[in-house]
């Protein structure tokens, strides 16, 4: 591969040999950066905006709409106050978010086009409509073009970083933005993981590390293990609607007290607050909008925001098996907001360790991405490390009664797969709906629906005899594919899950929090549904036996069973799962003798012309087979009712 000469301003003499045109890009909420591994094996961020390595993630759409009318970076930020509608700031916060979301409207001056499928679309100068993917692509394009100018080579491949909490759809959207900008996206990399990659290489560290990433708009926490050249992600967590922008807003709220809030004034106040916040990392007192602002005032305004990072951080530590940070070897700081002294103090308190911050917290993510780009493309990579990632949320299937059966649990190392067998619920059922879900809650309605499809062509068999194996496969990029296969006939169907619109990272956060808050509620709901499903099955089985073998009962016995069936039915109308359970048990008791008689008759019939051995091989007349499966059903029900360890619906219904 050709060697390229590049020179960096500020180190004019340094002519470095660069072996690849693949770069690392940190597509950030507030700033975006581009870095590349140079001939000396070290990643370096390139100056891409007025001599700075930070390109503000601000895009201004100017008059005319032709080429050259789009301005990115500082130049765009300078005109933001003047053209608030036409200048998009922090576009990453809008990825996958609905324009109806009150959060979207909060302190944001944009005009939104009426959305189809709820995706945000901005109306900018001249009525032009752009979506967040297109705005992100402008930022990426600016980085690519400016890097090409610097390097004198074509940049056509990139590793782009995303928050650890981005789901499939948001990752796809980021890839799409890369493609729009003329880049082949080699890999999407989680931001905190990228940071650790940069640190691991520079410091040759071993052990367990927390990466505390407080950026402009998102907070991410990752627990990673670094050992013998392998990075393992042990747990991820975060709060996707929390960052330095919120600090600015909190201070701006104070600056704007008693003033009328025009979009322009709001923008000015936010800019002044941001500047004051940055100055206050060095001095104790400064001015903003003509008012005096002390560090103490700022810290008081942002303290509740900083403390919001504690919950996700503690949860991730527990998930990774290092509760309260005991056994943790270090904390890496990422994101410009970790420069705030109050944040550093809080981090030290939270983890009981002084945080590492020797790599510029703004650049560290881009540097790690550059390392990964080098690893993936170079003939002989400069560094020999491997990155093992995890699934950020559990993946599962809908089962009977609106419950979710999880197949791949959150924080499972990927690539991963899992297979679960399901059976038919009704006699002669020929189709089965496969509903794929993502989230931590017990009930379908509380999780996110990723895809739905129907497996048809199941042979018509008595309920419970057909076997459908559903397999989930998650690849190294976190993309899920699902296959359903009927075991007898081999009929199968598969899809790759590409949701049409994204789950916002905020939604993910909310779902995670809710799963913890609602744990008890979920268990109650699950028990109720489990018991109702059981009641339904046992009623069906009893009805079938009454119809086929009713002659084995006296009128009195029959009446007793039917009365108890009515009691079970009425219990299922109410919401007390204990009562349903009790009534089912009573039905079991009053029908025990009947069941025994049916069993005797079944065996007697089956044995006429069949050996007991053949019974198991399924070589039965359809009549005997029915009796056999009904018996087995009855037996299964008894077991499931009695055993708390094997509870849970097993079959999926064709709806």
């Amino acid at each position: 591969m050709a060697l390229f000469e590049i020179s960096e301003p500020g180190e004019g003499h340094a002519k470095e040999a660069c072996t690849t045109g693949a770069v690392g890009i940190d597509l950030g909420t507030t700033n975006s950066l581009l870095a590349i591994v140079l001939g000396d094996g070290k990643p370096r961020a390139l100056a891409v905006d007025e001599g700075s390595t930070l390109l503000p993630s601000v895009v201004h759409y100017g008059e005319g709409g032709g080429p050259g009318s789009v301005v990115v970076g500082r130049a765009a930020r300078r005109v933001a106050a003047e053209f608030p509608h036409d200048t998009i700031v922090s576009v990453k916060r809008f990825m996958g978010r609905s324009s109806a979301d009150p959060e979207t409207r909060r302190l944001s001056p944009y005009r939104f086009a009426p959305g189809e499928s709820g995706v945000v679309r901005f109306v900018v100068d001249g009525g032009r409509v752009v979506n967040p993917v297109e705005v992100s692509a402008e930022i990426l394009r600016a980085l690519r073009v400016r890097a090409e100018d610097r390097l004198g080579i074509k940049v056509n491949q990139a590793v782009i970083t995303v928050p650890a909490y981005f789901d499939d759809a948001q990752r796809q959207a980021t890839k799409e933005a890369g493609r729009l900008a003329g880049l082949e996206v080699l890999r999407l990399l989680n931001e905190p993981t990228a940071a650790a990659l940069a640190y691991g290489l520079d410091k040759r560290s071993q052990g367990k590390f927390a990466v505390y990433d407080l950026g402009g708009g998102t907070f991410d926490i990752s627990i990673l293990q670094l050992q013998e050249g392998v990075f393992e992600v042990k747990a991820v967590g975060g709060d996707s609607a929390l960052g330095g922008d919120d600090f600015d807003r909190a201070l701006a709220e104070i600056l704007l007290e008693g003033e009328e809030r025009t979009p322009r004034r709001v923008r000015e106040a936010i800019d002044a607050a941001k500047q004051a916040k940055e100055e206050l990392t060095k001095v104790e007192v400064t001015q903003a909008l003509g008012k005096q602002v002390t560090r103490a005032l700022l810290e008081e305004a942002i303290r509740p925001l900083i403390e919001k990072t504690g919950g996700p951080a503690r949860r991730a530590l527990r998930d990774a098996g290092v509760p309260d940070g005991k056994g943790l070897d270090g904390v890496i700081l990422v994101g410009g907001s970790t420069r705030v002294p109050a944040v550093r103090r809080y981090v030290r308190e939270l983890f009981g360790l002084p945080p590492l911050a020797d790599i510029d917290p703004d650049e560290v993510v881009a540097l790690g991405a550059a390392v990964q780009a080098d690893l993936l493309t170079a003939e002989t990579p400069q560094h020999d490390v491997l990155l093992l990632d995890v699934a950020p949320l559990s993946l599962g299937l809908e089962t009977m009664g609106g419950l979710v059966e999880k197949l791949i649990l959150r924080n499972t190392t990927i690539p991963a797969n899992a297979t679960q067998e399901f059976t038919t619920f009704a006699d002669a059922q020929t189709g089965m709906d496969i509903h794929v879900l993502q989230g931590e809650r017990e009930l379908v309605q509380d999780n996110r629906s990723l895809a739905k499809f129907t497996l048809s062509g199941i042979p018509p068999l008595p309920a419970g005899l057909a076997r459908v194996a559903v397999t989930f496969q998650v690849d190294a990029d976190g993309i899920l594919s699902v296959t359903a296969r009927e075991q007898l006939t081999g009929v199968s169907q598969s899809i790759t899950v590409k949701p049409s619109h994204g789950l916002t990272d905020e939604e993910i956060e909310r779902m995670l929090l809710a799963s913890i808050e609602h744990a008890e509620e979920d268990v109650q709901a699950r028990l109720l549904i489990d018991n109702r499903v059981e009641a339904q099955r046992i009623l069906k089985a009893t009805e079938k036996q009454l119809e086929q073998n009713g002659d084995l009962l006296s009128g009195d016995e029959r009446r007793q069973i039917e009365e108890q069936m009515a009691a079970v039915r009425s219990a299922t109308q109410a919401t007390d799962h204990h009562r349903i359970h009790e009534e089912i048990e009573k039905l079991d008791r009053v029908s025990a003798d009947f069941a025994k008689r049916v069993m005797d008759r079944g065996i007697e019939r089956a044995l006429k012309g069949h050996s007991v051995g053949e019974f198991d091989k399924g070589e039965l007349s359809s009549h005997a087979q029915k009796a056999y499966s009904a018996l087995r059903d009855a037996q299964d029900e008894g077991e499931e009712t009695a055993s708390p360890a094997t509870g849970g619906a097993r079959s999926a219904e064709h709806g």
Binding site: L386, T412, E442, A519, S643, A645
Partner: protein
């Protein structure tokens, strides 16, 4: 142990080996339905205890098998890499966990499916659960209850080891391991982790 032929250099490869020892090429996974010895996949003999050096072996193999290593390889090799890494991640997860590891040991010895639980055990679990519900509703501390179940769990695991290692009653071992699942669930519930399991 069965062997097969490397698709690339035609050398003989042990069926469980994901890499050809001669040319280093990644091998296709065994056909669907074939029993995979998760110990052998990582180069270990089956054992009740965690194999020594498990973490190191997992990392060393990951470094060779992971799809990131095959970004420039043929589509076929990329697919083998994905499938083998998936198997490796699963095997590692199973071998790390004492109960899953023991269950896999049983599966390798031909014991499959859910064992029948004894009525006495089921009764005992119902009692434990009732006590837990009572303690929860009256706000009593749960420590003593949890300690009791933890002790039962540890004893059960010891018994399972004996049943497995003496090569004796495998169905007894299966039932003991099924009990472990119940204990784990109970302890998760005490510690408020019910939904995360």
């Amino acid at each position: 142990m069965s062997t097969r032929t490397c698709w690339s250099c035609r050398a003989e490869v042990s069926a469980a080996d994901p890499l050809c020892p001669a040319c280093g090429k990644v091998q296709p996974p065994l056909p669907a339905g074939a029993q995979i010895d998760k110990f052998a996949l990582l180069g270990f003999e089956p054992s009740f205890d965690a194999p020594a050096g498990l973490d190191d072996k997992f990392r060393a193999l990951s470094r060779k098998l992971h799809p990131d290593r095959f970004a420039r390889a043929t589509p076929q090799e990329r697919r083998f890499s994905l499938e083998q890494t998936t198997l490796l991640n699963d095997a590692y997860k199973v071998l790390k966990d004492p109960v899953r590891r023991a269950e896999h040991l049983l599966a390798l010895r031909g014991v499959k499916g859910d064992p029948k639980m004894s009525p006495e055990f089921l009764e005992e679990t119902l009692e434990d659960r009732e006590k837990l519900l009572e303690a929860k509703s009256s706000g009593e501390p749960l420590d003593a209850l949890a300690a009791g179940v933890r002790e039962k769990r540890d004893r059960t695991l010891r018994e399972a080891r004996e049943a497995l290692e003496s090569g004796g009653d495998l169905s007894r071992a299966a039932e003991l391991l099924a009990r472990m699942r119940y204990y784990a669930r109970y302890l998760d519930e005490v510690e408020g982790r019910a939904v995360e399991v």
